[in-house]
């Protein structure tokens, strides 16, 4: 079986993340770049399939600037077999429509049985990309799963909704997206780190993919989130608990 995992390089959520007010884009210098945590869990899911069946081929794919290669190498050190890096300066600031079309072009001929992505990234958080890729490729999408069972013939899983739990399944090829309910990613071992450089990474430009990537949306304005203001203080004169309950209830938090 061949599994392609979509990974994304994002600013570390543990640090302060900054948007450049002039361009409206992420200031990549401002924080460390790491593999998005949910896409790391997606990779872990693929690697756990490989643990059970060594013939499984795991490919990681991403679109991003030159530094994104670092995240691909990390994924290779964790156990992925090869990488696909869509790298094109013309794609800087690409919106969802362009990103989905370019990535779909990069994934179309991979011959993968299964594509695994995160349900949303920790930076953009649109949560749309996997569905858009599924449309481009004409594949069934099992989105936002909380559990998955990947067998040789098909993939099935559970999705939690407000109304209950849905059991979903699809024959290959298919796309699934995982949520943070999936297992945390493993650490790469020393052999993995030292061997990652020898694993192949193919670099593709938008032109090579036959997609010139016309970005049709632009950011008009970015404004700083207003600083936090002090909250309401409750002085306990005997009924603080009741006031607290009222406060939470008025905001539909309980």
């Amino acid at each position: 079986m061949k599994i392609v995992v979509l990974i994304k390089q994002v600013p570390d959520t543990a640090e302060e993340r900054i948007l450049d007010p002039a361009t409206g884009r992420l200031d990549r210098e401002a924080s460390d770049a790491v593999i998005d945590e949910i896409t790391e869990r997606a990779l872990e899911l693929a690697l756990s399939v490989k643990d059970g069946d060594k013939s499984t081929e795991v490919v990681v794919a991403t679109m991003g600037p030159k530094e994104a290669l670092k995240s691909i190498r990390k994924a290779l050190s964790m156990g992925a077999d090869s990488g696909i890096h869509v790298l094109d300066d013309g794609l800087a600031g690409a919106d969802l429509v362009v990103t989905a079309s370019v990535l779909a072009a990069a994934l179309r001929d991979t011959g993968a049985d299964l594509f695994i992505a995160g349900n949303e990234s920790t930076d953009g958080r649109a949560g749309m990309l996997p569905a858009m890729i599924a449309e481009h490729l004409g594949l069934p999408l099992l989105g936002s799963l909380v559990a998955a069972d990947i067998s040789a013939q098909s993939v099935s899983g559970q999705r939690a909704t407000e109304a209950g739990t849905q059991d979903v399944s699809a024959a290959y090829p298919a796309i699934v997206t995982v949520t943070e309910r999936f297992a945390e990613a493993r650490f790469p071992n020393f052999k993995g780190i030292l061997g990652a450089k020898r694993k192949p990474v193919s670099t593709l430009s938008a032109a090579e993919l036959g997609d010139t990537g016309q970005i049709s949306s632009s950011v008009l304005e970015v404004s700083q989130r207003p600083p936090r203001t002090a909250g309401a203080k409750i002085t306990d004169d005997g009924n603080a608990a009741a006031q607290l309950v009222d406060f939470l209830a008025s905001r539909r938090l309980i």
């Binding site: 190498r73 050190s77 650490f187 071992n189 020393f190 052999k191 780190i193 450089k197």
Partner: protein, 378 residues
């Protein structure tokens, strides 16, 4: 020479992530409860930390001595006790890889490299510490077996290890009469003393290893008869670099905590860090740790290349680094004032853990003896 390679940066990053997630949050509790976390050691083994510089064909990670020093420094930032135990374990695994035959590699190294089986280094005896060549544990050949009798003192991992690497006397010819043996756990006649109560290093067990008519096959002899002292000393060269790296890691953690504390803590109307006397204390810690790190890297490089001055450089590095690490931790305690003396701040544990590094793997007095003798003989 002083820039880390991309691979080394990735290795340090991974070890830091592992130590931050799986060791640091538990270090205080393990110290308090005297808990030896063999499960976490097995996780470290899965990542390749059980045989860092054991050759790949033997099941090790096949990395360099400098890589090892970087790894031990990083582990020790989270917990010097766990880092130091892994250092001892690696010394044992390396000795078997370096001096063992194919059968011994196949029998012992897979378990040691994965850390499913742990190793203990058994040289010191109740009556023979710094003067290790005076050891009295005896091994007598009896047909296809050796019969071992004697007691080993201060043995890290004793009672939990699967493999005891024992230096014993096969002839009354001083250091030339010592032979190394692999004694597996569970061998009849092998027993352990009570858990020693000690100042630090509480997350690893220290016990006596007692051998009463322990019969082991001749195939468990490591190297030829009479080569044991040399094997033990060669293992210790690496042990000295690694324990030095552990001291730097502990000292660095203490320094980092101190900088954060002095920036935050205010007295006499301003943060403590604006007091120049305290800034100078930070500078001295920084200078001594960086000096020691440089020395450790140089000794690791000599060890890797097998240069003539390996013994001298390893001894120097051990003395410099273990003193620098302890002094940094002790200064950090002073800089934290009363809070430094409380367990909660994690500083007093580093002081307690690093103190023993000045004593073991050859005391710092023995390091001076080695360096001094080599200096005057030149």
């Amino acid at each position: 020479m002083f820039d880390l390679t991309e691979d080394q940066v990735s290795i340090v990053e991974m070890v830091a992530d592992f130590a931050t997630e799986n060791i640091a949050p538990h270090a205080a509790a393990w110290d308090r409860d005297h808990h030896f976390p063999v499960d976490v050691l097995a996780q470290a083994g899965e990542l390749g930390m059980g045989g860092i510089y054991v050759r790949e064909e033997s099941g090790g990670s096949g990395m360099s001595r400098l890589d090892a020093a970087l790894i031990f420094e990083e582990l020790s930032k989270a917990d010097p006790t766990i880092a130091a135990y892994i250092s001892i374990h690696n010394m044992v695994a390396w000795m078997i890889d370096k001096f063992g035959n194919d059968e011994q590699h196949a029998a012992w190294l897979p378990g040691l490299c994965s850390m499913e089986s742990l190793g203990s280094y058994c040289l010191t005896e109740p009556g023979a510490g710094s003067d290790a060549a005076a050891l009295s544990t005896r091994a007598v050949l009896d047909g296809e077996h050796y019969v071992l009798n004697g007691t080993k003192q201060f043995i890290s991992g004793a009672g939990s290890s699967g493999v005891y690497l024992v230096m014993a006397r096969t002839a009354d010819t001083g250091s030339a009469g010592i032979t190394a043996f692999i004694v597996p756990d569970g061998t009849e006649g092998l027993s352990f003393g009570a858990l020693e109560a000690k100042m630090g290093w509480n997350a690893q067990p220290t016990r006596q290893v007692v051998m009463e008519d322990v019969r082991i096959p001749v195939g468990n002899r490591l190297g030829e008869e009479g080569t044991g002292f040399g094997i033990a000393m060669k293992g210790l060269n690496g042990g000295r670099v690694n324990i030095g790296a552990c001291s730097i890691g502990g000292g660095q953690a203490a320094l980092d905590k101190s900088i954060a504390y002095l920036k935050e803590r205010e007295a006499f109307g301003k943060p403590l860090i604006s007091q120049q006397a305290l800034l100078f204390a930070i500078a001295d810690m920084e200078i001594e740790l960086e000096t020691a790190r440089t020395m450790i890297w140089r000794a690791a490089d000599a060890l890797e290349r097998g240069t003539k001055d390996t013994v001298r450089l390893c001894a120097m590095a051990k003395r410099v680094a273990t003193d620098a690490g302890f002094n940094a931790a002790n200064t950090a305690l002073q800089l934290h004032g009363g809070y430094g003396y409380l367990s909660e701040y994690g500083i007093e544990k580093i002081v307690r853990d690093l103190r023993v590094h000045q004593i073991l793997e050859g005391s710092n007095e023995i390091m001076r003896l080695i360096v001094g003798r080599l200096a005057v003989e030149r």
